[in-house]
């Protein structure tokens, strides 16, 4: 691999556990294995979707990548630099390269700061720009996300949800990150606005070459915006594949269940499609089933599934799947 194709993100065997130590609060000793042995690379200007249900560990993994959560083991590299074990100064430096946007823009903005101040803050904190230069940079960022420079003097409450999400994106881009983690960035938005934000994210990537880790449960959005898809279940990846392979030929039974569960906006297709409805609910991450964690809900499960955990293995079409039967 040549130097300019360097991965913006490299995860190696990352595990994040909670609890378990008899600390000050005398925790019960139950270990919640939120993320368990995860490997992932994201290339420059690539969009990778992380798909899974609540409690599968996707938010914990996102937090670990931006350094908000320390892993118990494994390695997290952002543009080649190790996050795990880095000292504060180094970590501060690395964090410039990875930014995050969240689901609800109203909760991500300070209601008492003008959006100009909000967007400019990272530039001031890192002493990148001040005075006129700062103003110009903020105006440039606002224009990039489809707002106007004069919006800088307004407050978040003067904007609609879609516009607020544009402000959040502008702030995340202020430091020109290599990787943007988008945690359900359009789920809280109305349908007509959702399309505007998706178009914006695609355009920004084409212009700036930023990579996205796109956390979402909406498979139609994932199919639209992503190059590669990763499916997570109870702390582990169960399927990784390129978009076309993934949607043309989903292999893991959990992936197939997710796909059949998402209602399509087409009554004929929706009512005639083969349903693959899962029984039961996601088990607690504090008590992960033995063997394949999915075996308790899997229609294909046999005896081996409850005993031996399947590894991610490559398939002829390039997909990697962790299943004994798929």
């Amino acid at each position: 691999m040549t130097e300019d194709l360097q991965n913006v993100l490299e995860l190696k065997d990352v595990a994040v556990h909670f609890g378990g130590r008899a600390g000050l609060l005398r925790s019960s000793g139950v270990v919640v294995k939120a993320v368990n042995g995860v490997d992932l690379e994201i290339r420059k200007a690539e969009t990778v979707a992380l798909v899974g249900e609540s409690g599968c560990g996707k938010s914990t993994l996102s937090n670990t990548i931006v350094g908000l959560q320390a892993p118990v083991s494994g390695s997290v590299k952002i543009s080649g630099e190790e996050v795990v074990g880095a000292n504060r100064r180094k970590l501060n430096d690395i964090r410039r390269k990875v930014q995050m946007i969240f689901q609800d823009p109203a909760l991500s903005l300070d209601p008492r700061s003008t959006i100009g101040a909000t967007i400019g803050e990272p530039l001031i904190v890192r002493a990148i720009a001040r005075g006129e230069a700062l103003k110009e940079r903020v105006a440039e960022l606002l224009t990039q996300v489809g707002l106007r420079p004069e919006h800088a003097d307004r407050y978040p409450h003067q904007f609609s949800g879609g516009q607020r999400q544009r402000v959040v994106i502008a702030r995340a881009l202020a430091l020109e990150p290599d990787l943007l983690i988008c945690d359900e960035p359009v789920s809280a938005l109305d349908v007509s606005v959702r399309a505007q934000i998706l178009n914006l994210l695609v355009a920004l990537q084409q212009r700036m070459g930023v990579s996205y880790l796109f956390v979402s449960h909406d498979l139609s959005v994932v199919r639209h915006i992503c190059d590669r898809v990763v499916v997570m279940y109870l702390g582990r990846f169960v399927e990784i594949a390129d978009r076309d392979t993934f949607f043309a030929n989903p292999k893991h039974p959990y992936t197939r269940a997710l796909m059949s569960a998402v209602p399509e906006a087409d009554p004929v297709a929706q009512r005639s499609k083969q349903r693959f409805i899962l029984q039961g609910e996601l088990p607690s991450p504090a008590n992960i089933p033995s063997g394949c964690a999915f075996h308790t809900r899997c229609p294909l499960a046999t005896e081996i599934c409850s005993k031996v955990r399947p590894e991610l293995t490559p398939r002829p079409d390039g997909a990697r799947v962790a299943c004994h039967h798929a």
């Binding site: 249900e53 199919r223 639209h224 087409d266 009554p267």
Partner: protein, 329 residues
Amino acid sequence: MDLSPLLSVEDLTIEIAGADVVDRISFTVAPGRVMGLVGESGCGKSLTSYAMLGLLPPAARRSGGSVRLGGRDLTALSERELRRARGKDISIIFQEPSASLDPLTTVGAQIAAAYRTHHNVPRTEAYAKARQMLADVGIPDPDRRLHQYPFELSGGMCQRIMISIALICSPRVLVADEPTTALDVTIQAQILDLMKKLVAERGTSIVIITHDMGVVADIADDVAVMYAGRITEIAPVQALFEKPRHPYTALLLASVPKLSDAPKADLATIEGRVPTPNEFGAGCRFADRCPLATERCRVEQPPLFDCGGGHRSACWHIDRMDEIGEVAA
């Protein structure tokens, strides 16, 4: 099948601070049918559902219209009569089940209480009913669950409990306000299937409020699309998706990514934003964002025109709908 309307909402108008946030909404639901009310936030779909049960928040006032259930006008009832109707004739479930359940009472007691509100029976009999209901909504091990508290149950389970409370007195109409929005997709699929099963088995009519076109495509027989407090289009579900007759519906459908779209291609968007109630003009409320809009649209409100086959659209330019296809493409 009897298709005469069971529920009919006529010219329902709701006012907040002098503005008609719901403006002369009319639709009917036949027994055992599912009506989808779809629209973006602020379109008035939830207020419409609350008004059907006389549950409007204090700031809102029904300033006109009626809600008839089997010939009886619910809006003419006293609070006391309404209490007798709620649960027995018409029930409602909400988006966030854990916020609707009493955290200090076991779920069994909550379901039994709903039953005893309308039936003068001993507690044990009400519990037996509740147990049966839990089994009907697909909760495994109902005997144990009956004695648990809401915090011990997952979101999907809590929504099943809500459905149990809503249906234990066999109402003829269930109003479901975004019943699956807070749930994961695999659980959403289970709840939607459960609702379909209940319609089939009990003949309950459902009015489902949602912003999700996929949910509508899955469960609704008929759909009313709302925009800024008005119904802009109403049609049988297939007709609406196949050939929308209102620019708003067409653009809304075009903005959802589809299988046939090229990856990362530009999605159709609707420029601008929904007007706030004090910006409502005299004409069509979508006019400012509509690619087909003419002067007439801004000054004169279009009525719901009949397009045949139960399909109606409030647009002056239904004959120019082909142009929307070009805009969306």
